[in-house]
Symmetry: none
């Protein structure tokens, strides 16, 4: 059995099954684990597969969303960076959808050990790319417009958890109505997320400040922290600070 033959076999198995275990291969090919490991390593260096603990995965298998251009990306990245400091090991974090959240997830330190709960599909996918965080998807009927699960089932399951932090992508926020949104079904879920969490963080680009939609998620009294791309001393944020919200 030649080395290249072995490697061709490994590639084939990966393509067929998306995954191989070192232990299986060394039986099938009748060589030592060391040899298999060296082969996998070599193939990984050539970019033909992804080496993981105990075996290897196909490279094309993990599929991610192509990010077209994100509106106001730099502002969102500033917000995401600020939000990072709130996230600590061991936390249970409820997280909503939106591109700001996606940026946040990309910035999570690789060794972070936290659990994220979401009902948003792209967010779940983004979280799955992180090496160590645990991801819980509360699912049910999916709403196409928001790419998230909605409905009584989701609400009731958020009711069963007690999160340390709620990261809320915010559509509109003002000092009168608090956080507001457009669709009833989304409101219901966001409400459930807020109620399930000890601390509520609203992430919003400054354009969304002092705007309101028809439906209320929660009043400002429930919001603990507000994060925008602005300097905390910006006068736009003063009304929120005065209401007792920590502004970052």
């Amino acid at each position: 059995m030649l080395k290249k033959e072995r490697q061709a076999y490994i590639i084939q198995q990966i393509n067929i099954h998306n995954k191989v275990l070192s232990a299986d291969l060394c039986i099938q090919l009748d060589v030592s684990e060391d040899t298999i490991r060296r082969d996998l390593q070599e193939l990984a260096e050539e970019g033909k597969l992804m080496k993981v603990h105990g075996g290897a995965l196909a490279k094309s298998f993990h599929f991610t969303i192509e990010t077209n251009q994100v509106y106001n990306l730099s502002a969102k990245q500033v917000i995401a960076q600020k939000a990072l400091q709130l996230i600590k090991d061991g936390m249970l974090i409820a997280i909503s959808g939106g591109t700001t959240m996606r940026e946040l997830i990309k910035l999570l330190p690789p060794e972070l050990n936290a659990t994220f709960v979401t009902s948003n599909v792209p967010i779940a996918l983004e979280l799955l790319n992180h090496p160590s965080v645990e991801v819980i998807f509360l699912g049910n009927k999916l709403l196409k417009s928001a790419q998230m699960a909605v409905g009584a089932e989701v609400v009731s399951r958020f009711g069963q958890i007690k999160a340390d932090l709620c990261l809320l992508g915010t559509n509109s926020i003002d000092t009168v109505d608090g956080i507001t949104d457009l669709e009833l079904e989304i409101i219901e879920v966001k409400k459930a997320m807020v109620d399930a969490s000890k601390k509520v963080v609203s992430l919003a680009i400054s354009e969304k400040l002092n705007t309101a939609q028809r439906l209320v998620v929660c009043g400002l009294d429930k919001v603990d922290i507000l994060i925008t791309e602005l300097d905390p001393t910006d006068e736009l944020l003063a009304p929120y600070a005065k209401k007792g919200i920590a502004v970052l």
Copy 2:
């Protein structure tokens, strides 16, 4: 024994076996290893074979370029096309993961009115792009390697539905063990999907036929339809047809 004769013999052996070992050749041709090596080197320079440590391989061992794209895409598209005819308006369809399924979803007619149930994140996302189908995601803890939800919660919720069709991306299938897979948690979910469905369809590229993994999803008796890229009359499929499975 002339040099040309030797080299012709080597080429012939390569054509027959796709590989030769230097050690074998120098016995068969009764010359020293050096001579063989020089022959191989010469033939390699002429592009007639691929020299590797210990012997040579046929040029067709070029497994270089096809990485990072979907493996065997055309076969999967054929399979997806065949599967389309099974999907009718009003159906409730349980669908598993995999690139074949993604191709299938892309081919769904825009006016289709069906409900899909899945626990696979990329599949859910793909389904969300469709204008009219309803998508239900059965969620819970997400498994990173498979990008899908697993666990008792998912299993129990599949137990509560009665699907018309189960589209099962198949990792391995053979006539003895039936459909098999690698990870326990995935098995559990797939089992639940099979049990929840009136009709079970296995989609598999032909390379997966007659291969087996360690864990059994279900026996062939539970499989109603098998779809591969092969012609239904292909003899590879005969054993399955004989077991009463409709082969498309």
